[in-house]
Symmetry: C2
Subunit: 332 residues, 2 copies
């Protein structure tokens, strides 16, 4: 195992000073073309790579982005969504010269403590927060400390002075798309299996379905059914809507779990789920698919703009809202 190659080794070989090597790597325009070449050759010949730790000592930048690994959901069907997002994030971060550092935390308070701990020890340059909810204390905390961060998920109900950058997928557009598709297929009584009001994500998805039905002159209220997430819950809820006075012939669901439950009724109805999880693919369930790799790339992009951009945090914090896609399968 070769000993560590330092910038001094490169300098010696290229017959220049340490600083010139550093300049070639960080501010090449300061160095004469000929010298640049010579240094670059020495770097390549020796296989030199700048030590991140040493660099961090001077610059205060760790080139680390911290992300929380979600505990697998009880239900777990949605686990793969985070999985794919994380994969995309790691890949995009690497391209931008960053690495992803993981942490876990039980609840929000524990997470704030972990923020503090991480910042003291590993000093990540930024955080990516997922699954934001109403009154999320994490965004306010980070904002207060001036720590760069992005959320994957809109700032549901956050005070407007917290104008931080976020990335999200337009859930309403997704359910609208699904509803439109079912209307085009001739359905009129299109139900919605959703979560209880109060979750930003759930309300957003319901809104897309409701407004699309309303635009056709159909009152959605009667076809709306609220339940906790889960396959059995979905099955029960679907039965309720199927056995109503005016039974539904199609269902748009807020999650694949609920949609899967609807399929298990065995009744001949069209069903569309949400998230295009592996289960959906496996059982032929149509579903709204989130562009997770793009979302991850957008997160990294927004962070890089804050971290590597010019002035300190100038320009308006950008927000990105991505369009989901409807994946048609046997079920619809």
């Amino acid at each position: 195992m070769a000993d560590k190659v330092t910038i001094a080794d490169v300098a010696r070989r290229a017959k220049v000073s340490r600083q010139t090597v550093s300049n070639v790597l960080n501010s090449p325009e300061l160095v004469r073309e000929e010298t640049r070449q010579r240094v670059r050759e020495a770097v390549k010949a020796l296989g030199y790579r700048a030590s991140q730790a040493a660099r961090q000592m001077r610059t205060g930048r760790s080139r680390l982005i911290a992300v929380r690994v979600e505990p697998a959901q009880e239900d777990g069907i949605n686990g793969s969504v985070f999985d794919r997002f994380l994969h995309g994030l790691t890949e995009s971060a690497a391209l931008a010269g960053y690495r992803v550092l993981l942490y876990t935390a039980g609840d929000h308070d524990a997470e704030l403590a972990t923020f503090d701990d991480l910042l003291g020890v590993y000093e990540p340059d930024a955080f990516v927060l997922t699954s934001t909810d109403y009154g999320d204390p994490r965004t306010a905390w980070l904002w207060g400390q001036r720590i760069p961060f992005v959320t994957f998920g809109r700032p549901w109900g956050a005070p407007p002075e917290l104008a931080y950058p976020w990335v999200d997928v337009d859930g309403a557009a997704g359910t609208a798309m699904a509803t439109r598709h079912l209307l085009d297929a001739g359905h009129r009584h299109i139900g919605f299996l959703g979560w209880p009001a109060g979750s930003g994500v759930g309300d957003d998805r319901r809104a897309g379905w409701a407004r699309t039905l309303a635009a056709e002159g159909i009152d959605p209220a009667e076809f709306d059914h609220t339940t906790a997430d889960g396959v059995p819950e979905g099955e029960a809820a679907a039965h309720a809507l199927l056995d109503a006075a005016r039974p539904v012939t199609a269902l748009v669901c807020v999650s694949d779990s609920l949609a899967l439950g609807a399929l298990r009724t065995g009744r001949r109805i069209a069903v569309v789920g949400f998230d295009d999880t592996p289960v959906a693919r496996a059982v032929g369930l149509a579903s709204v698919s989130q562009p997770l790799a793009e979302a991850a790339a957008a997160c990294v992009d927004l962070l890089a703009r804050q971290l590597d951009g010019p002035g300190d945090g100038d320009g308006p914090p950008a927000q990105v809202l991505l369009e989901p896609a409807l994946v048609r399968r046997l079920s619809a």
Copy 2:
């Protein structure tokens, strides 16, 4: 945002030298009890945390464990397995004073290049490799470079001189358990849906089923069916075994994907899958469950033993084989 608290700040406040503070934190037995107290108070009062970057400069230890995020499988059903493992790993690592650093890589060659890159820049102390296969070049490379690592998965077919530490779950024990359960329920013609021979994991799982049947005087050969992974593949394979001269009445499957396919035949047979993925839970599929949190903890434990242990890598590299559990559900 308070400026960074350094060891010198603590030293000043406790009226001792930098080194004494360092000793209180790293080798408390060298410091007099009274002084220790005083320093500890100062640490707490100032909220001091040792900077990992500075520490790394001196000690050469980054307290980082590198793990590759698997690209979501085509099928994706098994994605959540890695998810849960990763979560456990992050948690266990944190308890041992380490953090998990992610990377991605297309194929084995790209991964070797990434090893080199990471080691040059972030200098992780160790790697955790998942899904090892026959003739895996990664273990040999890391071993050659004397980089500490553990694999989650046995060294299938690796030369015996590569006696590195590993953690795995006894797949054969899992399928044996499943088979035994089906025998106890009165089944005799118990089929196996497996992957083509040549994958260590698949062959291992097949072996547990085969030896349990053989012990009952039943020749397994006739009930063995090999296919690629996937739900449709499982459905087709199950049909083949059901329509054979001596049809099976129960199936043990190498994966939940195949088991799900078997369920979709709609025939009345008992089915057991493998991995206890969310899908299994959702559709009531019995499945063999791997203790992933324990496996992750064991990985961290083996690494910590190498990294924080006494002498340099003395003692035999430990191996851990964990027992899976059978989760009974509607399907069996």
